[in-house]
Subunit: 444 residues, 2 copies
Amino acid sequence: MNISKSFIPILKNNPSEAKIKSHQLMLRVGMIKQSSAGIYSWLPLGFKVMKKIEKIVREEQNRIGVQEILMPTIQSSEIWKESGRYEDYGEEMLRIKDRQNREILYGPTNEELVTDIFRSSIKSYKSLPQLLYHIQWKFRDEIRPRFGIMRCREFYMKDAYSFDINDEEAFFSYNKFFLSYLKTFKRLDLKAIPMAADTGPIGGNLSHEFIILAETGESKIFTDKRIFEVDTKDTKLEKKSLDDMRKKFEQYYSVTDEKFNKEEFEKKVSNENRLTTKGIEVGHIFYFGDKYSKPMGASVDLPGGKKDFVKMGSYGIGVSRLVGAIIEAKYDEKNEVMKWPISIAPYDLSIIPMINKNDNAALDKANNIYLELEKNNIEAIIDDTDENFSSKIKKMNLIGAPYQIIIGKQTDGDLLEFKETGKDSQKLKLKDIIKIIIEQKVKN
Amino acid sequence: MNISKSFIPILKNNPSEAKIKSHQLMLRVGMIKQSSAGIYSWLPLGFKVMKKIEKIVREEQNRIGVQEILMPTIQSSEIWKESGRYEDYGEEMLRIKDRQNREILYGPTNEELVTDIFRSSIKSYKSLPQLLYHIQWKFRDEIRPRFGIMRCREFYMKDAYSFDINDEEAFFSYNKFFLSYLKTFKRLDLKAIPMAADTGPIGGNLSHEFIILAETGESKIFTDKRIFEVDTKDTKLEKKSLDDMRKKFEQYYSVTDEKFNKEEFEKKVSNENRLTTKGIEVGHIFYFGDKYSKPMGASVDLPGGKKDFVKMGSYGIGVSRLVGAIIEAKYDEKNEVMKWPISIAPYDLSIIPMINKNDNAALDKANNIYLELEKNNIEAIIDDTDENFSSKIKKMNLIGAPYQIIIGKQTDGDLLEFKETGKDSQKLKLKDIIKIIIEQKVKN
């Protein structure tokens, strides 16, 4: 892709309305455009990143056997009245009347709707467990939307729901998602820590947030450093193995300010292991038993002939929010360098030719390199404009392909100037560059 | 995938509320579930088909160089007031007030929003053409939603928009989409005929609908049979070649009842070439010049220093609607046999073992075949229930994987009973079955 033909509207300076670095960068390189308060369009660069995140989230859901469905954005108020949440939810729920004057709403979450789907089809314990997810737009009418897509009104979310016969099976489902979330965030090159959390408007009695560290995070976190060393690579999708994994995490104190207790922190964590910092929530899981199945009458036949309400949990990852969270975690604001993890980068590599008037040699070379990369499934972007060299480098440092090839004075026959974005350059042949990038792609 | 573990809620009989065959089949095999009037959830089987259609639509848009973006579902009323459509649009537009009492709406289409995105970034003819598309949920508040997802309120649509410097370039863009649509529908195994159409609420002076033949179609169509013979395989993405292609279609009379003129039909089409039948609209393209760019002030600098309003077109394909349209075109209602085109089938093949009490031999064989197919990237579904044989066949004929392997009395050592869904069976070795399916997948 040549940058002159792409729709990547870049601003020279940081937009003054943006207060945090993800919002600044996303507006600056044209990843998003605000269309109204707290509502954004995703332009090609932002869209590509979000789609790659979505793909990883989907693959990891499928891997633990969750089936994908798609519920609509607009819901009827009736099911929310059944569960009792219609009145409770408050003004964040976007309430609508249609032309027939029926009360409808833009779904802020889907516990009611998925329970309705479940109860209309599943009647027997023999069909359990059922694990369902969807990835869909949701709306929460925030009173003061801010920080770009980090605290907006319309957002893209993966939410999954589990249905089980009893607590034991339900914890097994819960733990599958627990492990799956750790793997998902790892593939996004994020170190997410699971933390015991409050359940808020979802309800229930067991809940974990997954928090990534970022100085600009919205939550203060208090944790035992040793939690970063917990290793899950040998954990299997089996009850005992998953239980052991959760215990390994839960032996370390690790909470957000909501649950913080100074005395407990100091008692449980020795001075050298204490870490107090900030973080961003990227996932949240809940177990709430029959909180929805009971008022909505979602029951199944048990082996003995009796019936019982199905036990449910829900599991959310903010897909659009992750784009911002990853920028918060990775963007070097001081040097204006973003290097996307290769698993979700909008491009694998940027090609920066120095183009002089009436001399297309560097651009021709760039085009040839592009074709060779394409043959190897490496996605590149060429800066084919006639801007000066330093402004091109600056732009590509913001767009954030993790690798760069610079075609200028340093180019010496077959040897190309190659660098990891933001690092020092080295001279390499194209075939060696391709090898490096393919190795990284396979690993991630 | 074992059917006992999947969320495919199947009804014994046709649901009485469904009047057309796509609606019947989709409810009967649990592809969708109605959540409120004209609003549906997509269950795993329906979701798989829709996603595969979406993928083909996306690939064909990318192939002609359209860039993907994603606009939000909720729009501000302000841009609709700028274009003058806010009052005109009528009650089909779902109008909403948010908690701050601002007028917002659920987008029924996106000409205004995409024009706003364009005008904020593109200032010069040098950045033209720009072709942008998105695939997003839309809402039209139909007064009487019916026929399942064929005439519903919340629907999934691909809409693209072109921006050009003048009419000549704009027609070039228009024709690219014209060809791209023919290719898209062909990959869906549909024969779509382009027909000159009215422009309706989108406006403009050039428009084509793409119609597929189906006896249950909503539009009456009058056409010259020879239009089916027009061949586009040598058409190139070049002005002259695309112009010639459109002329080849336009030489034949072909309209829906909206534009029908009996006298003209009989004059232009000889008796033996006349075809009067019914069809379903699956795509619609429009050219409307500066209808939106002028009131909204979307202009670009021209080469000479003057400015002009950009010339726009829009191009829609109903992605969710296509699921129903394909069923209308392909489902043999009398024999209750659906055979999905392999390019979008929910599964490539179904495995139907005859399972007797205390005898798992057939199921074990089915599982082994499944694993072998999986290695070859062939997606299968096993009916592992203990239902009787004929009810299993009936069920799989409705689910519609295009191929079946039946493991019963006819199974004879290495030779398996294999059939194209709805056709006669033959005895083949697994490796030959795999060869047949892979050949079909590569072709489509």
